[in-house]
C-alpha cells in the first residue's frame, strides 16, 4: 500500500508536468493549426536560461522565474510566431513539420553552442530537502510545487480562455479563423498571444522537470516530447482531456516502473511514454477525410523522362568512376557516405516528396537494414540486401500501422514514437548489436565479383544510387506514382474514385522503409560496422530536413542533400567551436528554405541552363564533379 501510494505521488507529479507541456502544445495548435515539434526544445532552452540566471548568476529564484517565464518565454514565442509561423498559414502538414523540426534542431544547436554539452549540470529542486509526511509516505515540496503549479495553470487557462476578450477570440479562432477575423478579432494577434503563452508553458514544464533528471540538452528536449501523448488524448483540442491524459501517462509510467522486475524495466522504461503514445494513436477515432484544398504556391518540377534519367544515371556512374580513381581513400569514404545518405533520402523523395507522408524514423529503418545485412546469411552475402529490405519494410508497416487511418500529422508522430521506441528497445538491447554495442557489417560478392575493396564498394553504392534514381522516377511516371501523387493532392477525391487510401499509404510506407533498409545495408558495408548510437531519431530529423532543403521531390535534391550530409563531419572538424553543427546547419537551412518543397536544386537547373546558353553550347564531356552532372536529371 505504501509503495502504491508513493508511486502514485510520483506519477501524479510527473503527470502534471506532462499536462503542462501538453497544454502549451494544444494552445498553439488550436489557434494556429501548427503542431509545434519544437515545443520541447523551447522548454529546454528556457530551462537552461533559468539555470544560467539562478545557478550561475545567483539571481533569486523568483526573479529568474519572472524574467524567464514572464519576459523571455513570451518574447521568444511571439518572435517565432511573427517570423516563422505566420507565413505557414494554410501550408501542408509536411511543410509545417519541416519548419518546426528545423526550429527544434536549431534550438538544440544554439544550446550546445551556449552550454557545452560535455559539462554535467544539475538544477536544484524547488524547496530542496523539504518534504512533508502524508499518510505513510513522504512527499517532497518539489512534487507539491509541480502539482500546485499544474492546478494553477489549469485554473488560469480556464479563466483566460473563457473570461478574457483575447481568450474568447482564441477559442473562436479554433472554430473558424476567417469568420473570427470578420468579427473583428485579429487571428494574427491571437496566434501571437497563444505562441507566447505556449512558450512560457513549455519553459515552466522544463524548469520543473529538469531537477528530476539531469540538465541535459537532448534529454530535456525529448522528455517534453513525452507530453505529446497527453496532447493526443485531448485530440489536440480539449484542454481538460489533455490534463487527464497527462495524469494518466504519469501514473501509468510510475506504476509500471513500480511493478516491473528491474531487468525488464531497464529495457522498457525509456520507451514507456512512447508506448503510451502508440496506444493512444491506436484508440483515436478515424479522422474524416477533409475537403478543401491546400493552396500550393510551388509547382512541382517536371518529372524526367526515361531517356533523360538513363543519361543522367550513366553520367553519374562515369563521374563516380573518375572520382574513384582520383580521390584519396578518406575523401572517397566521405563521398561514398554522402551517396549512401542520398540513397536514404531517395526513400523520402518517394514517401514525402511524391506521397506527402512524413517519416521521422528513416534512420531507424536504415539501422534495421544494417542489422539485417550484418546478422543474416553470414553478414556479407548478397542475400543480406533482401533481409535488409524485408525487415525494414516490415518495420515501416509496423511504424505506420497505428496511425495509417489518421491524417498526416498523426502518422509523423507515430513514426517518431516508433523511432524512440526502437532506439530504447531494439538498438540499445544487448542481443541486437552485441555487448560492445557494435555490429560488424560486411560487403558482398555479387555473381562472382567481389565488392570488398573500397573502390569497388564505392562503385557499387553509386551504381545502386543511379539505378534507384532511375527506378524511383520510373515509378513516379507509372500508375503507382500517379496514384500516390493524386493521394497527396486530394485524398478525398481519391476515395471518390474507389481508391483504398489506407492500403495505398501502407504500401507506400513499406516500400519507402524497405528502400531505406537497403540503404542501411550499404551504410553498414561502407563503414564496416554500425553502432547503437548511429540510428537516433534526431539523425532522422537531420536527414529529413537536409533533403527538404535540397529538394524533396527530385532525385537531384536527394543527391545534393546526401552529399551535404556526408560533408558535415568534415566541416565539423574544421569548426570545432560549434558542436552539433549538423543540427544547426539542417535546422537553420530548413527554417530559411523549408517552405519551398522543390528545394534549392530546383533553382540550380534553370540557372545552369542560362549559364550554358551564355556559353553557347551544351556542356558536354565527362564532368569531374558529381554535383553538377546529376542536376539535370530532374531539374
Amino acid at each position: 500500500m505504501t509503495s502504491f501510494l508513493a508511486y502514485s505521488v510520483i506519477g501524479i507529479a510527473t503527470g502534471c508536468i506532462y499536462a503542462l507541456t501538453a497544454s502549451g502544445l494544444v494552445v498553439t495548435y488550436t489557434t494556429s493549426g501548427i503542431f509545434n515539434f519544437a515545443h520541447g526544445a523551447i522548454g529546454m532552452l528556457l530551462a537552461f536560461t533559468y539555470w544560467q540566471l539562478t545557478v550561475q548568476e545567483h539571481w533569486p529564484q523568483w526573479l529568474g522565474l519572472v524574467v524567464v517565464l514572464g519576459v523571455i518565454g513570451p518574447l521568444l514565442g511571439a518572435l517565432i510566431q511573427r517570423v516563422l509561423m505566420r507565413r505557414l498559414y494554410g501550408s501542408s502538414v509536411s511543410t509545417t513539420l519541416v519548419i518546426t523540426l528545423g526550429l527544434l534542431l536549431t534550438c538544440i544547436g544554439v544550446a550546445t553552442v551556449l552550454w557545452d554539452p560535455g559539462e554535467p549540470r544539475s538544477m536544484p529542486e524547488f524547496f530542496a530537502d523539504h518534504r512533508v509526511r502524508v499518510a505513510s509516505i513522504y512527499v517532497s515540496y518539489h512534487q507539491l510545487t509541480m502539482m500546485s503549479v499544474a492546478v494553477l495553470v489549469a485554473v488560469f487557462l480556464r479563466l483566460f480562455l473563457f473570461r478574457t476578450r483575447i481568450g474568447t477570440a482564441m477559442r473562436a479562432v479554433v472554430d473558424d479563423p476567417e469568420l473570427t477575423a470578420l468579427n473583428g478579432a485579429a487571428p494574427d494577434r491571437v496566434a501571437m498571444v497563444s505562441w507566447a503563452l505556449g512558450a512560457s508553458l513549455a519553459g515552466l514544464a522544463g524548469i520543473l522537470l529538469a531537477p528530476l533528471v539531469s540538465l541535459d540538452i537532448i534529454l530535456l528536449t525529448l522528455l517534453v516530447i513525452n507530453g505529446y501523448a497527453a496532447a493526443m488524448v485531448g485530440r489536440l483540442k480539449s484542454l481538460p482531456l489533455t490534463f487527464v491524459g497527462g495524469l494518466a501517462l504519469g501514473l501509468a509510467e510510475a506504476h509500471t516502473i513500480g511493478n516491473l522486475p528491474s531487468n525488464v524495466l531497464n529495457i522498457v522504461k525509456p520507451a514507456l511514454p512512447i508506448i503510451f503514445l502508440y496506444v493512444v494513436l491506436l484508440i483515436l477515432p478515424q479522422a474524416r477525410l477533409r475537403v478543401g484544398r491546400i493552396v500550393t504556391t510551388h509547382r512541382a518540377p517536371r518529372v524526367a523522362t526515361l531517356r533523360e534519367s538513363l543519361w543522367a544515371g550513366a553520367a553519374f556512374v562515369v563521374a563516380a568512376g573518375i572520382l574513384a580513381q582520383v580521390l584519396s581513400p578518406v575523401d572517397l569514404f566521405t563521398v561514398g557516405q554522402g551517396v549512401v545518405f542520398a540513397l536514404i533520402m531517395l526513400s523520402l523523395v518517394l514517401l514525402t516528396g511524391y506521397g506527402g507522408q512524413v517519416s521521422l524514423a528513416q534512420m531507424t529503418f536504415v539501422g534495421i537494414g544494417a542489422f539485417g545485412m550484418g546478422k543474416f546469411f553470414g553478414g556479407n552475402s548478397f542475400l543480406g540486401f533482401l533481409a535488409a529490405a524485408a525487415l525494414a519494410g516490415l518495420a515501416g508497416a509496423l511504424a505506420a500501422l497505428p496511425a495509417i487511418r489518421l491524417q498526416g500529422l498523426y502518422l509523423a508522430l507515430s513514426t517518431l514514437a516508433f523511432a524512440q521506441g526502437m532506439s530504447a528497445l531494439f538498438f540499445k538491447n544487448h542481443n541486437v548489436f552485441g555487448y560492445g554495442g557494435r555490429l560488424a557489417v560486411g560487403r558482398p560478392s555479387i555473381l562472382g565479383v567481389s565488392f570488398h575493396g573500397d573502390k569497388a564498394f564505392f562503385m557499387l553504392v553509386c551504381v545502386t544510387f543511379a539505378l534507384a534514381g532511375i527506378g524511383v522516377l520510373a515509378l513516379r511516371r507509372g500508375p503507382f506514382g500517379r496514384r500516390v501523387v493524386a493521394m497527396r493532392e486530394s485524398p478525398a477525391a481519391c476515395a471518390t474514385l474507389g481508391l483504398n487510401i489506407t492500403f495505398t499509404k501502407l504500401a507506400l510506407f513499406t516500400m519507402s522503409s524497405a528502400m531505406a533498409g537497403v540503404a542501411g545495408a550499404f551504410y553498414g558495408g561502407l563503414r564496416g560496422q554500425v553502432g547503437l548510437n548511429d540510428f537516433e531519431m534526431l539523425q532522422s530529423l537531420v536527414l529529413l530536413l537536409l533533403v527538404s532543403v535540397a529538394g524533396i521531390n527530385t532525385v537531384s535534391g536527394a543527391l545534393m542533400g546526401g552529399l551535404t550530409f556526408g560533408l558535415f563531419p568534415k566541416i565539423q572538424r574544421a569548426l570545432p567551436g560549434i558542436p552539433s553543427l549538423s543540427f544547426l546547419g539542417a535546422g537553420v537551412g530548413a527554417i530559411a528554405l523549408g517552405r519551398n518543397p522543390n528545394g534549392w536544386t530546383s533553382e540550380v537547373g534553370p540557372n545552369l541552363e542560362k549559364v550554358r546558353n551564355a556559353f553557347g553550347s551544351r556542356a558536354a564531356g565527362a564532368a569531374p564533379d558529381v554535383d553538377v552532372e546529376a542536376v539535370p536529371s530532374n531539374a
Binding site: 474524416r288 475537403v291 512541382a300 500508375p479 496514384r483 493524386a486 471518390t496 474514385l497
Partner: protein, 241 residues
C-alpha cells in the same frame, strides 16, 4: 438509382440537414438547388460517405450503403465532383483522368485500357487540346471539366455534380448542358447542384429545393418555379406559402 432516406446531419447545435429524402433516377438529370449554406454539399458528402449522417439511410442501386466507407461507395459506381475543386493539381488533365481509370481497373473487372479511356473522355469533355497541361495552371472552369472527366473515368452509374458550371462562359455552359443530357441518355443518373438557373431549367427533369437543411419543394422545373416557398427562399420575398 439513388435513394436518400430521412437523413439528418447535425454539426454541434446546427442541423445542417433535416429529414432529407430524395432520389435520383437513371437516365435523367435531377437538380438540387437552394441558397448557399442550404446543405447541398453536405448532402453530397453524406451520399459519398465523406460525412456520416446523424440519422437516416443512403441506398445506391437498391443496396444500403450507409455503413460503407467512401471508397467502397465509389465502387458502387458513384462519381462526383467538388464545389471547392479537388483536382490533382500537380498532374496534367490527361493524368487526372488516367488515374481515375487506373484506380477503377484495380477494383473493377474490366479490360478497358486506361489510356484509351482517358483519350475518349478528354475528347468527350472537350479537353483534348489542353490534355497535357498541369491542372493547377488551368482556369477554374476548365479544371471543373477535368474533375468531371475524372469522375467519368470510373464509368459511374450515378454522377454527383457540385456546381460544374461555375467558371464557364455561356457558350461553354451550353456545351456542358448538352454533354450532361448526353450522359443521361446513355443511362446515367445525374444529381446536379447548380446556381445557373437557366442551365438547371433546361436540362433537369426533376428538381429538389433545399433551404436551411430542409427540402422545401420538389417537382418539375415549372412546378418549382411557381412555388411560393422557393421564391421566398431565393429572393427573400414575403410570399405567403
Amino acid at each position: 438509382m439513388l435513394e436518400v432516406d430521412q437523413v439528418d446531419v447535425r454539426f454541434g447545435g446546427l442541423l445542417a440537414l433535416h429529414d432529407t429524402t430524395l432520389s435520383a433516377t437513371a437516365g435523367r438529370v435531377t437538380g438540387l438547388i437552394g441558397p448557399n449554406g442550404a446543405g447541398k454539399t453536405t448532402l453530397f458528402n453524406v451520399i459519398t460517405g465523406l460525412q456520416t449522417p446523424t440519422r437516416g439511410k443512403v441506398a445506391i442501386d437498391g443496396r444500403d450503403v450507409t455503413k460503407l466507407k467512401p471508397h467502397q461507395r465509389s465502387r458502387q459506381r458513384v462519381g462526383r465532383t467538388f464545389q471547392r475543386l479537388e483536382v490533382f493539381g500537380a498532374l496534367t488533365a490527361r493524368e487526372n483522368i488516367l488515374v481515375g481509370a487506373e484506380i477503377r481497373n484495380g477494383w473493377d473487372s474490366t479490360s478497358e485500357d486506361p489510356r484509351m479511356v482517358a483519350d475518349e473522355i478528354l475528347e468527350r469533355v472537350g479537353l483534348r487540346d489542353v490534355a497535357d497541361r498541369p491542372v493547377d495552371a488551368m482556369p477554374t472552369g476548365m479544371a471543373r471539366l477535368v474533375e468531371l472527366g475524372r469522375a467519368l473515368a470510373i464509368r459511374p452509374k450515378l454522377l454527383l455534380l457540385d456546381e460544374p458550371g461555375s467558371g464557364l462562359d455561356p457558350d461553354e455552359t451550353d456545351v456542358l448542358g448538352d454533354l450532361l443530357l448526353d450522359l443521361a441518355r446513355d443511362g446515367m443518373a445525374i444529381l446536379l447542384v447548380e446556381h445557373d438557373v437557366e442551365l438547371v431549367m433546361r436540362i433537369c427533369e426533376h428538381l429538389y429545393v433545399l433551404d436551411f437543411g430542409k427540402l422545401i419543394a420538389d417537382g418539375t422545373p415549372a412546378q418549382v418555379q411557381a412555388d411560393g416557398a422557393v421564391q421566398a427562399a431565393y429572393l427573400g420575398l414575403d410570399v405567403p406559402v
